[in-house]
Symmetry: C3
Subunit: 412 residues, 3 copies
């Protein structure tokens, strides 16, 4: 192996790591923008903690659960022990055929790990207790995500079946979406959301923050999908850039048209979620779906968004940021799309995505229920009214605002 | 060609692609910051749509209009057909001398394409109708921008003449600025801007958003200019980094001094636009102008900004974000500067920049006028007063604010 | 030297440059978020000017002060003359063993240079005069920072002693923090901060801006520490990514636990500063401290944060953003930590960090005092009450807000 090529490959993987890292800022501002002003500190706090918890637990056990080694190939579960150590026989340039080092492998995957929990944080926003949420998030990132991740990326049973999930439409997005759905069901909707007179819209407090979030997520997705090539291979990475960008663009157009026909207005949040839907949709097949077909995959994902958002509202699943529509529904769609447009076996794709969704959902319901009956999951109605920022953090997101002045007065 | 070098080159081009992509977030927050609170959703919506439209139309036809192939060398117009296909004889490592792949070529250029339309969106903000704007933007990115782009970068007649425009002071910035000027003229100023008593300042609603925009644009410009080296050539890219950074810095200082002398205050929007002016100014010659001279090019661009802003206001050209000053005026300046400091022929530079500006201006006036008499360009005065966010989108950018509470009440 | 390896190495250094650049946006939004609404334009203005001044002065003299050449090895001071020129014998691929070009060397270091002054700007916010601050910042970046930087990175006396400071816990962060402390002492606290009845909390006006800042700083730190490997060496850079990320994560957890025990609440600003503390702490030893030990270094830095913040408040050092705690205290801690966990000599580390801190503190007190008695350092109490945005800039950060409406009325 040539040292120049090794360095170029590894550099691309590290750049991808940096790009996936900044997706956590994207999630933070997206979720912050879509919640009410009184719950913004809480969302930011959760997202700052999740990335820290995600990286640390992935170092302690997640990586070795997800990549337990060849001994567990084809299996459901394996573990290579606590803590990380490349071992005495480790030669960087021989690791994964000179594409990257052991530590690059770890840190790139670590940035992915926290994503699943971040997806949950948006869906359960504005009424979940902080401590219980952090406990659940820790268990999700440290235990559930690596186990299902191992099924495919750790050469487990789904990989042996020929299941295709390039960068994680199922393993990351549908996984996070399934966990989100479970906890939303356990929590129930925000107070006053679903009334006898109809569904009350609770608009997000800052569209600029939401838009910043979506642009940063797209930005980071170049590393999420581009890094999943697992080398700097020029042909592979550039094709992934093209399919990813076309699908995101088509997702915007799809959501634009569908939401205009449904609501007769130009709905920014639908277009933003349409972009995300397109990105989630192409993630499973960004390496094998042609550019032309990636437009179709993205456009369908974009069209799905308004329908899915309306559907979840109809069945009283209250998800303030639309995370279940974006990550669960479009994640499943994207996984199946590899069976339609990318040469994978459709049935295998269906089995794969449903298995991961089912496992994660059951895990989340079980863990969430155990937390609910012991610590409690939901803040008091009074705290929900006042906002979690005061209730959990004794802080306000915008301290100079009119409300804050009143708040300060009341504290004197 | 060595695979390590090919991978390193291509990786740099893809990193540049990612950096140019995030400039669209820079434009979004810059424009959002400089408009009034009531028009923020509208600006964000336009910017999210423009990037999607830009990438898709560039895939469908723009790339093949801009790079029609050798058969059209020296010409004014060419087209290699709809849709993209690298062809059966395509060998990645041989494409463009092993510097990057076909798909890298496309996606890097695609990120540039939407920029021209984005420049327009800021200048026409706060009074243009959404549908007509999106139609105009589509025609600008899909047709006009690739045609003039071909004149130089597609080896057309300006390239044959020896015209120098490294990364697009003319082809991107003056082009976008000329289109902006045309539509601003067709639209007229915002209501109440120019009165008998003088010019009413309409301050932007968020300086943090504007500042975020300028920093992100500078950040992205490392890819815009650095990627225009079209390889990872260490000497070439690092020199471009230096000239770009020195010109941006000198632009800040130039605008700081000039605006302080003119207005006797420390004007943040002038300094921010001075940075952008410096960046636009060095873009045409970042590869051939020496570091020392790049400071002069940037400083002059910075000084131009306050004069140009005042001038446009005097002739009642109402441009809320200063896009014509930054992109049109500094774009022309930067193109001429290559004739002064960069060894190009001054007359050729003058012919080149005026040709592109004239073509784009005439195209934009013609298309804009046709839209004006058929669909209408401008929202009603009532909608302008209430804001386009409610008028076009039924949404508010900051839903928890005092105005929003009143709005919510009025909806009940 | 192989051209592929040279290109890959240089590309990584340029990517790192871009990442360090965006830290200046991180500092801008962090500081903007932590100050009151009435001082936001002022903070943004200072940060935009500092990066411009930093790059230009580093070109004019800073680089040649910091890297004066072998003739000054082991010394306290050297200077290679004004302006930059790689010289006639310069061969890019031979420069620094084919790791990067001369211009890459300059621009990467130039992005570091402005950091020290930026650290000051947060600590002295909300009461310093703009002109005097910019003068001080210019002298700090152009003179003091390169001199102490030369002691280690320019092969000066600390380098000869074996002092270890990989990416600048001392040379950048403690240096900036010491300058901040000096000017805060000269300035005194904000009016009304320390009263007979106790310490008045003056909360920052936007937690989203602060959080954006911290995420962007972490993002940029991958280039700050990763680029300090001074090549794309896969093993070196990837290890630095891991230690940096683990320390930042542990910093969050450390600050979370310590601040919860101290204040019985989930304090977002402590967690955010805990992340920064962890990053500053690992910066001196990111290349030699093992991943496991980097968790300890980061966790201790995180725990330090709330104690240090309370301590400085107790001795009436008023630092609105906590810069002295993050950069000075954790910078010293990180430098010493290399003596504990990274194999360096503890006494040498102590001498090194105290020398730089002492030199910078004395320099800053002297220059700051000279400015104080000539131009004055502090705005009038009336201006402080009204805010520096109106006082220094005749602008407001959020022009559509209720306060702005009143302000506009009062101007008529």
């Amino acid at each position: 192996m040539d040292l120049g090529l090794f360095t170029a490959n590894n550099t691309w993987m590290l750049v991808s790591t940096v790009l996936v890292f900044i997706m956590h800022l994207g999630f933070s501002t997206l979720e912050a923008g879509f919640v009410q002003k009184k719950n913004v500190v809480n969302i930011l706090f959760k997202n700052a903690m999740i990335i820290a918890i995600g990286i640390l637990t992935y170092y302690i056990m997640g990586f070795n659960l997800m990549y337990p080694g060849e001994a567990y190939s084809g299996g459901f579960f394996g573990f290579a022990g606590f803590g990380l150590d490349p071992g005495p026989d480790y030669v960087p340039i021989e690791y994964v055929d000179g594409a990257y080092t052991y530590w690059t492998d770890f840190i790139f995957q670590a940035m992915f790990a926290a994503t699943a929990a971040t997806i949950v944080s948006g869906a359960v926003a504005e009424r979940i207790k902080l401590g219980p949420f952090l406990l659940f998030a820790t268990l999700l990132v440290a235990v559930a995500y690596p186990i299902t991740g191992m099924w495919k990326w750790g050469t487990g049973w789904l990989d042996a079946m020929g299941f295709a999930d390039f960068a994680g439409s199922t393993l990351v997005h549908a996984c996070g979406g399934a966990a989100a759905l479970a906890i939303v069901i356990l929590l129930g909707p925000r107070s006053g959301k679903y009334t006898d007179k109809g569904i009350k819209p609770i608009p997000g407090h800052s569209m600029p923050l939401a838009a910043i979030g979506v642009f940063l997520l797209w930005f980071g997705w170049f590393g999420f999908n581009g890094g999943s090539v697992l080398s700097g291979d020029p042909e592979g990475v550039s094709l992934v850039f093209v399919t990813t960008s076309l699908a995101a663009s088509a997702g915007a157009i799809g959501a634009f048209v569908a939401s205009y026909l449904m609501f007769k207005s130009f709905d920014l949040s639908m277009v933003l979620n349409g972009i995300l839907g397109g990105l989630v949709g192409i993630t499973a097949g960004a390496d094998v779906i042609s550019p032309g077909m990636s437009i179709i995959v993205g456009a369908i994902a974009g069209v799905i968004i308004p329908f899915s958002v309306v559907f979840f509202d109809k069945i009283k699943i209250d998800d303030p940021v639309g995370a279940t529509s974006v990550h669960l529904v479009c994640g499943i769609w994207g996984t199946l799309a590899v069976g339609i447009f990318g040469g994978a076996n459709f049935l295998t794709q269906l089995i794969g995505t449903l298995s991961v969704v089912a496992f994660t959902f059951v895990f989340s319901i079980a863990v969430g229920y155990a937390i609910k009956v012991t610590m409690g999951l939901r803040v008091s109605e009074e705290e929900e009214m006042k906002g979690l920022d005061i209730g959990e953090h004794d802080m306000m997101a915008y301290a100079d605002s009119v409300e804050s002045a009143a708040f300060n007065l009341s504290m004197k």
